[in-house]
């Protein structure tokens, strides 16, 4: 028999023990994926709201370009507009997605933590420092449109650091899905959200490095004095590669995936055609990446007259609609319950479809050019529908980014019991989602009308185009402001639920979900699952498990496919 001897602690040994860590230490030095995910989420929401407020100010200035009320000149307008756009994407939407991924994915796949947990923490702090540098550079008259060489260089370095940190987090997310799944969870049994984040991460890994390369070139070009700073507004093109379609559809992948999971949970009917949905989500990713990849030799991702762009633009709404249609089977056959997360997710899906549909209007120009060149039809409608180089692209951006924000609002509500141990306020969620969705529609409509009336794409220095442009810009301004209001409400709701008393909250499975994150406590313990999970045998491991899933902790995973 083995005898274990435990040495009694002496008074001296007790005195030498480190003092218990403070709450601040726990947050700042944590390698717990849940804490890191929350840090990404909080910071992301904060910067999202800030970026949208900056974008609202820029939109206000754009009502009558050429006469400036808040900024001094066209260069400052470019800086304001560009700051809003970059922070919205790399400081707001993408970081919130990463926060959700780092929090939710390990729980969904039954992993005790994320792969490279300390790396995840380091990626967050690197990102925060990088985006801080970007903002500081703009404030000091740097960035795209900036007039001070040192701070334009700082902007390039900061943005490269930001994108690098995002890339790092994406490698961690993809590695987690590939290598940290619990036993029995084959890749085709991974929940849709995790699958969507996996595709999102892979596409990011294969396309964002090109942006880092371009920023490295920008850095050396500006540092060597090779760029005339009076033309530094051309540097806005660096961020084009993520903000123009089809690259922008990258954001749709995880948002649509979350929608499918949320629809399945709140209708009590998981989507049946799993592999079709997974294939469609992968296709959305391929569409977002494909056109980039084929034209990355010139680094610029989108060539408007490119045949690939035409095909991808035509295909994208169909693929997005197919994901929605497959989710529709759950709505039809299940028992939908009124829920803010469900409503926000469905609304985001519809706005995504609308955004992809609007992009189709851009096909008229290249198709007309093609017919002109290759046939004798003498088709010439270019004078009426030339959208390239107009605010048309801003319309698509408004719709897609707006849809992503609505989706994020719904997703944070859905997983709020896990995130904070406290379900966030449904009314506030509905209000913020409604405001953001309506705002996205107005933003898209205003920019589209201005684009059809020939208003030059931002950053333009003067108002151009027809008589409807000013009115259309007012509509776009109201739209962006509404999205900003939605983001601010979402931020308030997030803070409120994070710090609210959770004593009345049901433990474990708040929504009767069937994936593994609902088999653990809310919020989960440090190790996620307090006992060893049984081997997973289906894509819905909790189907058929009784009410007390927290105690079952994934133990009843022998159920049949739902």
């Amino acid at each position: 028999m083995a005898i274990t001897e435990t040495q009694t602690k002496t008074t001296e040994a007790l005195d030498n023990e480190p003092p218990p860590a403070s709450k601040l230490d726990v947050v700042l030095g944590s390698s717990d994926h849940k804490t890191i995910g929350r840090l990404w989420l909080f910071s992301g929401f904060l910067l999202l709201a800030g970026a949208l407020i900056v974008s609202t100010v820029a939109a206000y200035e754009a009502i009558s370009l050429g006469s400036y009320d808040i900024v001094a000149d066209a260069a400052q307008f470019t800086q304001l507009w560009s700051l809003g756009r970059e922070v919205l994407f790399f400081g707001g939407v993408v970081p919130i997605l990463i926060g959700l991924a780092i929090f939710v994915v390990p729980l969904q796949i039954g992993a005790p933590t994320v792969a490279f947990a300390r790396g995840a923490s380091a990626s967050f702090w690197t990102w925060l420092f990088g985006i801080g540098l970007v903002i500081a550079a703009y404030i000091a008259n740097g960035g795209a449109g900036g007039g001070r060489q040192d701070f334009v260089v700082l902007w390039a370095a900061g943005l490269a650091m930001t994108v690098f940190a995002i890339l790092w987090a994406l490698v961690i997310i993809a590695t987690t899905v590939l290598a940290a799944r619990t036993s029995g969870m084959a890749l085709d049994r991974v929940p849709f959200t995790s699958w969507g984040f996996f595709v999102f991460a892979l596409i990011g890994i294969l396309s964002l490095p090109v942006m880092i390369a371009e920023l490295a070139l920008t850095y050396t070009t500006v540092a060597n004095g090779m760029l005339d700073l009076s033309t530094s507004s051309s540097l806005t093109g660096v961020a084009d590669m993520t903000n123009l379609t089809p690259a922008l559809y990258w954001l749709a992948v995880p948002c649509l995936a979350m929608m499918v999971d949320i629809v399945g949970v709140h209708t009590s009917k998981p989507v049946a055609a799993r592999r079709a949905v997974m294939a469609a989500l992968a296709m959305v990713g391929v569409i977002g990446f494909g056109a980039n990849f084929l034209s990355f030799a010139s680094v610029r991702p989108v060539d408007f007259s490119n045949g690939v762009w035409v095909v991808v633009t035509a295909a994208s709404p169909l693929v997005i609609v197919s994901v929605l249609a497959l989710s529709g089977s759950s709505l039809k056959n299940g028992a939908p319950k009124a829920n803010a997360a469900l409503g926000a997710s469905l609304a985001s899906g519809l706005v995504f479809v609308l955004g992809a549909g609007v992009a189709i209007a851009g096909l008229v120009e290249p198709i007309t050019l093609f017919l002109d060149d290759k046939t004798t039809l003498n088709v010439d409608i270019r004078d009426t529908l030339v959208l390239h180089g107009t605010t048309f692209h801003d319309a698509i951006r408004g719709l897609i980014i707006g849809a992503a924000i609505v989706s994020l609002i719904g997703a944070v509500h859905h997983w709020s019991p896990k995130l904070w141990g406290n379900t966030s306020n449904g009314l506030l969620t509905a209000l913020s989602a409604l405001s953001a969705a309506a705002g996205a529609l107005l933003w898209g409509a205003g920019s589209l009308i201005a684009g059809i009336d020939d208003q030059a794409a931002y950053p333009a220095s003067e108002l151009s185009g027809g008589t409807s442009v000013e009115g259309a810009n007012v509509v776009a301004l109201i739209g962006i402001a509404l999205v900003a209001v939605g983001a601010v409400i979402a931020l308030v709701n997030t803070v409120r639920s994070a710090f609210a008393d959770a004593s009345g909250e049901p433990e474990g499975d708040r929504w009767a979900g069937l994936t593994l994150e609902w088999a653990t406590a809310s919020p989960p313990s440090f190790a996620n699952f307090d006992s060893q999970l049984a081997v997973v045998t289906s894509a819905t491991p909790l189907a058929g498990v009784g009410a007390n899933k927290t105690e079952a902790n994934g133990g009843a995973t022998e159920s049949e496919e739902a």
């Binding site: 028999m1 001897e5 792969a115 490279f116 490698v171 290598a179 090109v210 050396t220 030799a297 010139s298």
Partner: protein, 202 residues
């Protein structure tokens, strides 16, 4: 008195461990390597596209008086090819628990890396290209990023070597060494792209 036999340490009702999914580090390294490869491909693509545009205008790409010699780049290429052999030697040695060979292979790989940096420094010093030209900016950026990737690979190999020394890697687990080897081979690939795109085809 303590009486411990090795068999007593195993509980009578030991539960068979659920097969872990190893290779987290290897998977992450492959993904990171893919990202680095894409970034460098983007840089080389940009360089090739600009060079093609300038040549299409009837001008020469390199500024007058600038000559890129072939001797140093070829020696560097040879060094890099040799380093692939040495890093694979390291993996093989760790796999066989042959520590003497493993330390030699790690050391040799790092020496190859350092020599590559010195040779690059010498090559840049004899290029004598003013940095205020587009060509110089592009070429120096390509060289700088290549050296950064090589530096990261050297750090990775050094970390794997240290962990091997302290017993972290052995025949039972040499995933970290294999991951370092993959990243090293990527660094060689990056130099190969630079060698062909800039030094050979200029």
């Amino acid at each position: 008195m303590t009486d411990i036999s090795p068999f007593d340490a195993i509980p009578e009702e030991a539960v068979a461990p659920i097969p872990a999914r190893p290779r987290v580090l290897l998977t992450g390294t492959v993904l990171a390597a893919a990202a680095v490869a894409i970034a460098y491909a983007g840089l080389v693509g940009h360089y090739a596209a600009r060079r093609s545009e300038v040549r299409a205008g009837g001008e020469t790409w390199l500024p007058d008086g600038v000559v890129i010699p072939l001797t140093q780049p070829n020696y560097m290429m040879f060094t890099m090819v040799l380093s692939i052999i040495s890093i694979l030697w390291a993996v093989h040695a760790v796999k066989l628990n042959d520590r003497t060979n493993a330390y030699s292979a790690f050391g040799l790989t790092l020496v190859f890396g350092v020599s590559q940096i010195f040779q690059t420094y010498f090559l840049v010093s004899i290029l004598d290209m003013a940095p205020e030209t587009e060509q110089a900016t592009l070429i120096y950026t390509l060289i700088g990023v290549q050296i950064a990737v090589l530096g990261a690979a050297m750090a990775f190999v050094a970390a794997a070597a240290i962990r091997t020394m302290i017993g972290g890697y052995s025949s039972r687990d040499y995933e970290g060494v294999a991951a370092a080897a993959i990243f090293w081979i990527l660094a060689v690939g990056v130099y190969t792209a630079l060698w062909y795109a800039v030094y050979i085809t200029k």
